[in-house]
């Protein structure tokens, strides 16, 4: 479904991604793990078109994404929960969710809205509140809900569990699993590698802008180097 082929990304003169390639097949959950600054977010932003790669190619559903504007990529069925949530601070919770469904027709949106509210009752309680005053965790829920609103084929999550209460982390992972079994392909970036690998089919390990390891989740969970570096022991 998504094929990333040897991309290089620069921030000015900083070479952040050095020839990364990976693949996400339809129906899979794939996770990228790596230390701070390894380039995980940069990779996701490049896939969604917010950043340009200087070389290489990204293919989504058989089509090259080269030169395609980010908003068009969203229209093709790719959604991203960005790092740091980036909810629209001055819009209400409900308006934020509606923005998530921007590419869809208004009439189709109602069900999705119900669905999000059902999964996150807290958002329903706060639907009229201006998002900027939500607590960190509430904003994270909102960002997640907002991405779900576009009914994406491929959902990319950048550290969705960050700042969430343990009970919610579980919930979020449950939701990810559910979405996946309902047919959404998932590309997951997580610091909580343990959790991520427990639900993912496959994983890639990123180190300073390069893929250093790729294997199935089970293999990665057993890998000593991964254990030491990312699983805390």
């Amino acid at each position: 479904m998504l094929k990333v082929n040897d991309i290089n990304v620069y921030y000015g003169s900083i070479h952040a991604i050095k020839g990364v390639s990976f693949e996400v097949k339809e129906g899979e959950i794939v996770t990228l793990i790596g230390a701070n600054g390894a380039g995980k977010s940069t990779t996701l932003n490049t896939v969604s078109g917010l950043l340009d790669s200087t070389t290489g190619d990204i293919e989504f559903m058989g089509k090259s994404l080269k030169g395609i504007a980010p908003h068009k990529i969203v229209g093709m069925g790719l959604a991203q929960v960005p790092e740091g949530r980036r909810v629209f601070q001055n819009m209400t919770v409900q308006e934020n969710l509606e923005m998530g469904a921007y590419t869809r027709r208004t009439s189709e949106v109602k069900d999705s809205l119900q669905d999000v509210f059902q999964r996150f009752p807290r958002l329903y309680e706060r639907r009229k509140q201006v998002s900027g005053t939500l607590s960190g965790g509430e904003q994270q829920m909102l960002a997640m809900g907002r991405a779900m609103m576009s009914k994406p084929k491929l959902l990319m999550l950048d550290e969705p569990s960050m700042g969430l209460a343990p009970i919610l982390v579980e919930q979020i992972f449950d939701i990810v699993k559910e979405l996946n079994s309902a047919g959404t392909t998932i590309l997951l970036v997580e610091q909580n590698a343990q959790m991520a690998l427990s639900i993912a089919d496959r994983g890639y390990v990123l180190e300073t802008g390069k893929v250093v390891l790729s294997a199935t989740s089970a293999e990665l969970l057993e890998n000593d180097a991964v254990k030491k570096a990312y699983l805390g022991g």
Binding site: V74, M91, L134
Partner: protein, 293 residues
């Protein structure tokens, strides 16, 4: 009675400021830039209508239409050429570019139409409204301006809060990157914003020149600054605020002249403005900036 007639004069001056301020706020609110060239787009609108009606002999409505169309196109083109390359630059850089555009428009107008003033014949043929046995009269232009002001304000409020593209504008104004991730075409959204803002500027230009019928290349600059002041006064980014701010500014100006001093009228307007901002630091209708810590 004089108080009342001063009030009416204030409203009529203020409604002109208000209508300019609406366009200002629109662009400011969405594109987050102080478009100091807005006043000069107004001037271009005035000249366009003048040319259509005087040189081409067109009627009032076609004249206005031409002005609106040309200004809309102008706004979009200027945005594409001058502001778009600076999307990710600091907002002050865009402000300076806008000043460059303002110089550009003024000097182009000077080359095309010369420095001689032109007198604009009013596009409003409505008779003045006479009250209290004719002691009080409200001119046709004032009536039209106030009414268009209210209509435009309402339309803009509805547009930005209810329509999809209006909401997209608000999203773009907050976080362009996140807006793109929602599938919003940031560039075309900003173009639409400029189109609307410049179209409004053309209307404002025609009304400004109808109320105060001289037209020069510099005609737009001072009303532009006053309207910017009005927009901030009302709470920058707030559409109803722009209207309230504009009208109040007009009233303060007239009352300041009438009851304090004509010599110091400019100083009075600005002093009142400072005092009001001290009491309400985010303008009259501006929302307090609630920063979540």
């Amino acid at each position: 009675m004089t108080v009342l007639s001063n009030l009416i004069n204030g409203i009529s001056l203020g409604s002109i400021y208000a209508i300019i301020a609406l366009g200002y706020t629109m662009v400011y609110g969405i594109a987050k830039m102080l478009n100091f060239a807005h006043g000069d787009v107004i001037m271009v609108g005035g000249y366009m209508a003048f040319c259509a009606m005087t040189y081409l002999g067109w009627g009032v409505l076609p004249g206005i239409l031409l002005a609106v169309i040309i200004c809309t196109v102008l706004g979009v083109v200027v945005e594409k050429l001058a502001y778009k390359p600076l999307r990710s630059a600091p907002s002050l850089a865009v402000l300076i570019t806008a000043i460059g555009v303002s110089y550009f428009l003024q000097n182009t107008a000077l080359l095309i139409w010369g420095s001689d003033p032109k007198v604009f014949s009013s596009v409003v043929s409505l008779p003045s409204l006479k009250l209290f046995d004719g002691q009080l009269s409200i001119s046709g232009v004032t009536q039209v301006t106030v009414i268009s002001c209210v209509i435009i304000m309402t339309a803009l409020v509805l547009f930005t809060s209810k329509t999809k593209i209006g909401k997209a504008m608000r999203a773009v104004s907050e976080d362009k990157g996140a807006a793109q991730l929602m599938g919003i075409n940031v560039n075309s959204t900003i173009s639409v914003t400029f189109a609307i803002g410049s179209g409004l500027a053309a209307l404002a230009g025609v009304l400004l020149c109808s109320a105060y019928p001289t037209l020069m290349p510099t005609t737009g600059s001072m009303p532009g600054i006053k309207a910017f002041t009005a927009a901030v006064f009302g709470g920058i980014g707030s559409i109803p605020g722009a209207m309230v701010g504009g009208i109040l500014l007009g009233i303060i100006e007239i009352f300041g002249k009438a009851y304090i001093s004509t010599q110091l009228s400019d100083a009075i307007v600005f002093a009142v403005l400072i005092v009001v901002l001290l009491v309400k630091p985010t303008g009259l209708l501006g929302k307090p900036i609630n920063e979540k810590v």
